[in-house]
């Protein structure tokens, strides 16, 4: 996806020149391999800092919340769906954002790459078409990206932006016949104790740093429930009960809103499979309401509407 870099720079430059945006949000090349840094460009002369490759796995929509200026922003399929969600939830206005759509072929799972090179330190990564080469002190290996996609990207069926003002490239082919919920179905099939065991083990390394929550564009509450002190809902120690409460409630707050962008999982410093908490709810939203978050500006999300003619008995 590195080839989008020049196009992004060109579009950003043009937008500044035409006065269509006051700032532009994208990525700049990171200081360590497989990491890039979100950047806000104010000065049109700095558009050359913009960069794109398959290591842009955060969610830039996170940086739009409550902004009041005119913003240009790059957006992949999932990021664009979060922008749609942000608009629906009144966190930003559609006419404020100029969305530069990225037809996305998925992000690289940096942990999987590390595993593939047996945790040796990677000093450089070069992306080339459908593959990439990583180099370390005593090794150099080339991999195909399709074998190292982030787990959410491997099952993504909305690679192309759903809402955009301009595309940075031709649309890519969408994945079809993806079995998106294989892992959830496996969990659903477990007995309660086994499920509990799975989630208990999943969070056993959690240090309550809140990187998962803060990487998520859905988490914009002025005060998160874990930070409330009057009353205090959740303890602040690393007692497993409190940690589990945080993860489960956080996931529930994302029900019917999560686009499975994977930023939470990517951000976690200790590799917790955070998406396992939200994915079941995504599946429920799909099974119960035929709903996938952020696909349209014209429909309210299922959990924020009430209709007297709702087909579910329990709510009538």
């Amino acid at each position: 996806m590195i080839e989008y870099t020049d196009k992004i720079k060109e579009i950003a430059g043009k937008l500044f020149k035409e006065g269509k945006v006051e700032v532009f949000i994208g990525y700049k090349k990171g200081s360590v391999p497989m990491m890039n840094e979100p950047i806000l460009i104010r000065d049109p002369d700095k558009v050359d800092l913009l960069y794109w490759d398959s290591n842009c796995g955060l969610n830039l929509c996170n940086y739009l919340t409550k902004r009041t200026d005119k913003i240009g922003i790059v957006a992949t399929g999932c990021n664009s769906r979060n922008i749609v969600t942000h608009i629906i939830e009144n966190q930003i206005r559609r006419d404020q954002v100029y969305i530069v759509g990225i037809p996305c072929t998925g992000m690289i799972d940096h942990r999987a790459v590390q595993r593939a090179v047996k945790q040796q330190e990677i000093l450089d990564i070069k992306e080339d078409g459908d593959g990439f080469t990583v180099k370390g002190k005593d090794f150099e290996e080339t991999f195909e990206k399709k074998d190292f996609l982030q787990a959410n990207c491997a099952v993504c069926t909305h690679r192309n932006p759903v809402e955009y003002d301009e595309m940075a490239g031709s649309p890519v082919e969408e994945l079809v016949e993806v079995e998106a919920y294989k892992d959830v179905k496996k969990l659903e099939g477990m007995a309660s104790e086994k499920k509990w065991g799975f989630f208990t083990r999943a969070i056993s390394h959690c240090i309550r740093c809140y990187a998962c929550r803060n990487a998520c564009p859905l988490c914009y509450c002025p005060t998160c429930f874990v930070d409330e002190s009057q009353p205090q809902w959740v303890g602040k120690s690393i007692d497993p009960t409190d940690t589990m409460t945080f993860h489960i409630l956080r996931a529930y707050h994302c029900a019917g809103r999560c686009t499975d962008c994977g930023a939470c999982e990517r951000a976690c410093p200790v590799g917790i499979p955070v998406r396992q908490f939200t994915k079941k709810l995504n599946k429920d939203a799909q099974d119960l309401f035929s709903w996938e978050a952020g696909l349209t500006l014209d429909q309210r999300p299922p959990l924020d509407v009430y209709r007297p003619d709702d087909y579910n008995d329990f709510i009538r």
């Binding site: 200081s31 360590v32 840094e37 950047i39 240090i207 740093c209 990187a211 120690s237 690393i238 200790v270």
Partner: protein, 334 residues
């Protein structure tokens, strides 16, 4: 390894263990085998001396109890604790944090007792990471600073150098070794020199002490430095030198605990006043605080260099790639 087994009666022993994708410190008695083939642990060993959550006191609110509402110190374990395989940067980190917990003004009893009961058996870094910059902040891959013993991994042998009385005692109890000859000492020296040379990152901190605090505080670069920050606690919680904590009371029924938990200046709650006012209510202020503390306030207060041991954890694991090496350059050259 055999030597360690024999020390179990004299010390609690913590060692690096591989736990999934990364290493951490675990008990020698734990399920996971020690693994010294590692660059550094994901989390620093800070929690071994300064637990992320530590029960300070216990109390009862039961008015029928004659001790109602009286804080009683919780039981703690201060038996000798050997931290074996700690990297020199992390031992240096303890020295830096120790200045906060043990100084003429304050002595934090729990830190002091945990710290004093610890024996730090360091393992020099034969292969530092590309993100390491210990040599730029007063340490080195074979620095002896803050260690009781330094081990050199020479392939077939470990060379152990006792550095303090505590360290010598540990070595005496371990036994089994022999006096190193000249050639081994030379090998160790060569190893340390070549490891130092591998550290390629240049980080300037020399001019920080001469900067005017208010000018740095008002520097124009903070907005850009902070833009990507998501205000998580990864940097602070992985850091061997971040020492801030919060004290919480937790009550179940009539029984209560007073607990101290690590805290982070990245969190809005960190500075929220009881009045509702928050002096650092936006993220730029919070990010600035982190770097000003490490690279300016600490420098000015203790005259002891920066509050950073160059372990590189925040550089590698910051989810948005905010790099303290670059921030230090910006501040130093401002």
């Amino acid at each position: 390894m055999k030597a360690l087994e024999g020390l179990k009666d004299s010390y609690k022993i913590s060692v690096p263990v591989k736990d999934g994708d990364f290493h951490g410190f675990g008990s020698l008695d734990g399920k996971k085998a020690p693994d010294f083939d590692y660059q550094n642990t994901r989390l620093s060993p800070k929690s071994l001396v300064y637990p992320q959550s530590e029960r300070m006191f216990e109390y009862t609110l039961d008015e029928n109890d004659p001790d109602a509402n009286i804080l009683k110190e919780s039981a703690k374990d201060y038996s000798p604790h050997a931290i074996v395989g700690i990297r020199p940067c992390d031992a240096h980190g303890f020295q830096i944090a120790n200045l906060n917990f043990d100084n003429p003004e304050y002595r934090d009893p729990w830190w002091v007792m945990h710290f004093e009961s610890s024996v730090l058996v360091g393992l020099g870094c034969n292969e530092p990471c590309s993100t390491c910059f210990c040599t730029q902040v007063g340490g080195g891959p074979f620095s002896e600073k803050g260690l009781d013993i330094l081990l050199y991994d020479l392939g077939d042998n470990f060379l152990a150098r006792g550095l303090t009385d505590k360290g010598e005692e540990f070595l005496k109890k371990a036994g089994g070794g022999s006096q190193a000859d000249e050639s081994l000492l030379k090998d160790a020296g060569d190893l340390a020199a070549s490891a130092s040379e591998m550290i390629s990152t240049g980080v300037s901190t020399d001019k920080l002490k001469d900067k005017v605090i208010n000018e740095l505080f008002d520097a124009p670069f903070w907005d850009d430095v902070a833009f990507g920050c998501i205000n998580c606690g990864t940097c602070a919680y992985l850091c061997p030198t971040c020492w801030c904590f919060d004290i919480q009371d937790e009550v179940l029924g009539k029984e209560g605990d007073r607990i101290r938990n690590w805290d982070s200046c990245m969190f809005p709650l960190f500075t929220l006043h009881g009045s509702g006012h928050n002096p650092r209510d936006n993220k730029v202020q919070r990010v600035r605080q982190r770097f000003m503390h490490k690279l300016k306030y600490y420098v000015d207060k203790y005259g002891n260099g920066v509050q950073c041991s160059g372990c590189g954890r925040c550089v590698r694991y910051c989810p948005v790639n905010i790099d303290i090496r670059q921030v230090s350059e910006l501040m130093n050259n401002f």
